[in-house]
Symmetry: none
Subunit: 131 residues, 4 copies
Amino acid sequence: MPLLIRIDPEDDRAIYVQIMDEIRRAVLLGGLTAGEALPSVREVAAEVRVNPNTVRQAYRELQREGLLGTRRGVGSFVREDANLDDGQREAARRRVARRVLRDAYRHGLNLDELITLLREVAAPREAGGSG
Amino acid sequence: MPLLIRIDPEDDRAIYVQIMDEIRRAVLLGGLTAGEALPSVREVAAEVRVNPNTVRQAYRELQREGLLGTRRGVGSFVREDANLDDGQREAARRRVARRVLRDAYRHGLNLDELITLLREVAAPREAGGSG
Amino acid sequence: MPLLIRIDPEDDRAIYVQIMDEIRRAVLLGGLTAGEALPSVREVAAEVRVNPNTVRQAYRELQREGLLGTRRGVGSFVREDANLDDGQREAARRRVARRVLRDAYRHGLNLDELITLLREVAAPREAGGSG
Amino acid sequence: MPLLIRIDPEDDRAIYVQIMDEIRRAVLLGGLTAGEALPSVREVAAEVRVNPNTVRQAYRELQREGLLGTRRGVGSFVREDANLDDGQREAARRRVARRVLRDAYRHGLNLDELITLLREVAAPREAGGSG
DNA sequence: GTGGTCTAGACCACA
DNA sequence: GTGGTCTAGACCACC
């Protein structure tokens, strides 16, 4: 299985929040589908090099949200009745944008400076970045 | 470990500055070597009889200088590398931009979609993002 | 302040669950009223001799239930809008009874044996325990 | 610490029994003294190359015998006192009853109210509590 | 193996 | 001081 979850140590968000977001993303974007098993707490912990308790906290919060279910001695899985409508996908995208903006402000960048920089760093990958 | 830091109440310098100097001195003189763990904020605070926040301020400034590093849940330690020069600030900003972009890609957004979203969520704050 | 929370090490329930129940009890029985501050996580931890994280977990779950609110750097308190109706009081009592029964079964006692024992041990305190 | 426990695969006794005997021997011979911590279940399992559950079973049996004690989140250790005789079972039951009663009192229930509630909640299981 | 609970003790943000 | 996050690593119940 490819690495499901990626943590950014420079991201100011708590690690367990990043993990939650990565799992939400994987579910919303189809990397994980309803009923599917998630990697175990220990596996994720080993992969992203964090303490199992940190991963556990993320899984626990997602259980409360109703996205995940768990069975002791068995594992965790995406709930069948997890609502995965388009509105949630759009909300996820806006969350990303808001987070990005906060991040930029914290580093002394305003919106225009951020956009300029984004175009610059994207150039090599998108061959001009359009716009 | 013997008392690492000694504060002189008759010294005119702010206490946190004295603590910073004491730690710098310990590193330069070899009392503390690269990679070595520092005593915890609370330990130092208890030893030299100052508020933990004062010690924390000293540690934080030394982190900014690049002399110390810290790992959440573990402690503070002397960094392996030296402090960075001023031009590195620009590099840091580009790192932010690259991180942002990677985050967006992972959520299925390309550059233009991200910029559009950024302008939307920034609108209330920057009135269109150009002022 | 008298000891608000009492933990029973022989109780098989997780400690944080016991703490939750003790706080619910104090609120329902009037020992704590809406808006009132709770002892800090560290205070409770010191009183009942458990790790602060264990107390924190209890507080956190009660926040999610809507019974408690917390403000960082300030403390925790009973929420003004916590519903404390008679139905909840009755439910709390039935929870106690169910727990007691489970406890007895685990120790090889059936209902009648338990009641007999209860009357015996209560006798010195209630002078016969009635009928 | 040198290897505490040695298992003989040609020994007819169950492995967990061998482990129990090895620990008893270590305590009797002074290799382990009262209050001393035992290696963790996982450590022993790794050393003697058996399943952790097997070691756990040995530890659990020794707990029942009264030779070992365990503290959650800390580990297992040799108990200061010896094992208890059989007549203590009755005392344990009375402890249960006393605990139950204290719990009820704390929730504002007297003996009769508790018994009434117990009969109610037991009804579905014991069909009235007398059979 | 799995998830769940707990300890000890660190730093962090906030007031 | 407060609450919040995190590490390291233990035992427990269950499969």
